[in-house]
């Protein structure tokens, strides 16, 4: 007994609405597709495809007007064996990352402990200390370029007031100090972030365990070393990894403050990629793509090593 076919519009609406399946954890394929499609389409087209294309680029020379020449692993070989700027950039980025990450996490912990110690106005300070996190790198960079100015920058001025004229430098102009100056600025921006996370973790520590430690003859230092820091270990590891990844990819701040100079003393891998792609006398997207690919694998390797080393074998549940 045949029913007349429903008009097309009703059919589409019915298709979109889906069946009401009894089990709420199941849904017909078309519903799932509907939910995922927009995200997957955007993701596939503008994340996955570009990644694949970068890999493709890395084994080619991409000249102007999209002239592509297959070169195999030539780019990588040249990169590893002949490109001194690349290795300088790797060294700079590594120093920046390692020093910055350790300082970032330790500093954040220190600040959080200060606020945890029941100081007056802790809430207000928490809000103020977090402000740099919200500022764009452009703003942070420009402010600190001014602060580092040799003639009228506050850094040199304060050194002068303290009678330390001998320490005054052209912070961003001197190859010996430029990278460290950028590290300090980066730290200034991000300490508040780690501080907030550590503060939340500190407040989540069970009070009775800290009470038990007090009865076990722990002063504030012993409590810190034997109880608090070991219990914060998962947070510390997470932040170390997060900070590490973020700094390995750093572009904005360096570009704005020094553009990689002076004399490549602040050249990072990301600024080098940009320069090779857009600021080089020959236009070739293949070579910088190779740099990006190689660097990506190096980051993966470091992160895997880090997590392997630092992650605990059993959980610290409480």
């Amino acid at each position: 007994m045949a029913e007349p076919a429903a008009p097309p519009r009703a059919r589409i609406v019915a298709w979109l609405k889906g069946d009401s399946v009894a089990d709420a954890r199941q849904a017909p394929a078309r519903t799932i597709l509907l939910f995922l499609a927009p995200a997957l389409v955007v993701y596939a087209g503008f994340t996955i495809y570009p990644v694949l294309r970068t890999f493709y680029n890395s084994v080619h020379t991409i000249g102007p007007h999209n002239l592509q020449t297959f070169v195999g692993l030539d780019n990588f070989v040249a990169l590893v064996t002949q490109d001194r700027v690349f290795w300088k950039a790797v060294a700079n980025t590594t120093i920046f990352t390692v020093v910055g990450t350790v300082a970032d996490v330790l500093g954040g912990l220190l600040l959080a402990l200060c606020l945890f110690a029941k100081v007056p106005l802790a809430r207000a300070m928490r809000v103020i200390w977090f402000t740099p996190v919200l500022m764009s790198y452009v703003i942070v960079g420009i402010i600190w370029v001014w602060l580092y100015d040799y003639d009228w920058g506050l850094v040199n001025l304060v050194l002068g007031w303290l009678g330390l004229e001998s320490l005054q430098h052209s912070w961003l102009g001197d190859p010996a100090t430029a990278l460290w100056a950028v590290v300090v600025t980066h730290l200034w921006k991000w300490l508040g972030f780690n501080m907030i996370i550590f503060l939340a973790a500190l407040h989540a520590l069970p009070e009775e365990v800290l009470g038990a430690a007090e009865l076990d003859n722990c002063g504030w230092f012993a409590k810190l070393v034997y109880i608090i820091i070991p219990m914060l270990r998962p947070t510390v590891v997470n932040l170390l990894v997060l900070s590490f990844i973020g700094k390995m990819m750093m572009f904005d701040l360096v570009w704005i403050m020094t553009a990689g100079g002076p004399l490549w003393s602040t050249e990072t891998v990301s600024t080098y990629v940009y320069k090779r792609a857009f600021n080089w006398n020959t236009f070739d997207l293949g070579y910088p793509s190779a740099i990006a690919v190689l660097w990506f694998f190096m980051i993966l390797l470091f992160v895997t090593l880090m997590t392997r080393l630092l992650r605990q074998r059993d959980r610290v549940e409480f």
Partner: protein, 373 residues
Amino acid sequence: MATVTIDGLSKRYAGGGEPAVKAVSLAVADGEFMVLLGPSGCGKSSVLRMIAGLEPITAGTVAIDGRPVNHVPAKDRDIAMVFQSYALYPHMTVHANLAFGLRRRSVPGDEIDRRVRGVAEKLGLTPFLARKPHALSGGQRQRVALGRAIVRDPKVFLFDEPLSNLDAALRVSTRNELIKQQHELGTTTIYVTHDQVEAMTMGDRICIMNKGEVVQIGKPLEVYRSPADAFVARFLGNPPMNLLPARLEQIGDRAVARFADVAVELPGYPMPALTPYLGGAVTLGIRPEDLYETPPPAVAPRTQQIATRVLAVEPLGAETLLMLATGSSDQEIIARVGRDTGLRMGDAASIALDPNALHLFDPTTTKAIARTT
């Protein structure tokens, strides 16, 4: 081994209205097991934490062995505490948890080892020494918490509701374990709980607190039999004491309490004690176990009968609880009768009451009317 004396201890939290603890005074003898009993929020945990030194004292003194310790930091009071959540160090093994306090006090290594192993042996923790707390059951963690306190060999033990996180069966066995340990060690113990069964079975003396104040201190059976006020009367005993409004009347040279159309004698109370209440209202208290369907021979001669109507029957297996309505006002009381009662809901029942077991309370102050002047 030490005495603990609290005098006028008070605690006010910043920003709070009422003080949490109001002028609590208590003297715990050497080797005594003192239980602080009371409902949630009565201030018993605050008192304990002030004794431990984990909470600053607003007013009053705490003295251990006669020496005031108000300004002595917690770690120097020679006190060990077992917390409700056990508060084990989650990142350390059981062995390290037990040894931590000793290590922090620079006890020599082999001494630590000896004591830890000894305590582990005593509490059956030897197979677990290498495990971390998250791999232990609740009962095992509780024993580690206890072990951590024992291994310190302190002057005083403090317990903050240590059994409340355990399931019922475990609670009973652990309770007995704790009693046994305390007996063997003979250490002065202060134990906080809201569970009256724990208080009755474990304490040498109970200190009952309500709303920040001490209501009564005494041996468990004393407090049970002679509650100082209506609150204590209802707090101890399950099901709780029946409290009924009654009128005190004078008949000849005797006083009787009239309730539920019955005038009951008051043999336990001499006339002078009752004179202020004659002709007025009193609160009458009678425990469910002192109401009988069939009184035992020893009690039978002196009992009086009350006419009641059965509202509900709750057979518990070993005994039965009856919810009864008495008198014209249908006042509800609970009686505890034998398991083979034939009474059903809606029946009329005549219940025997033992006048010797009656308690009288002042209707306004709720304090017990003294049996002596």
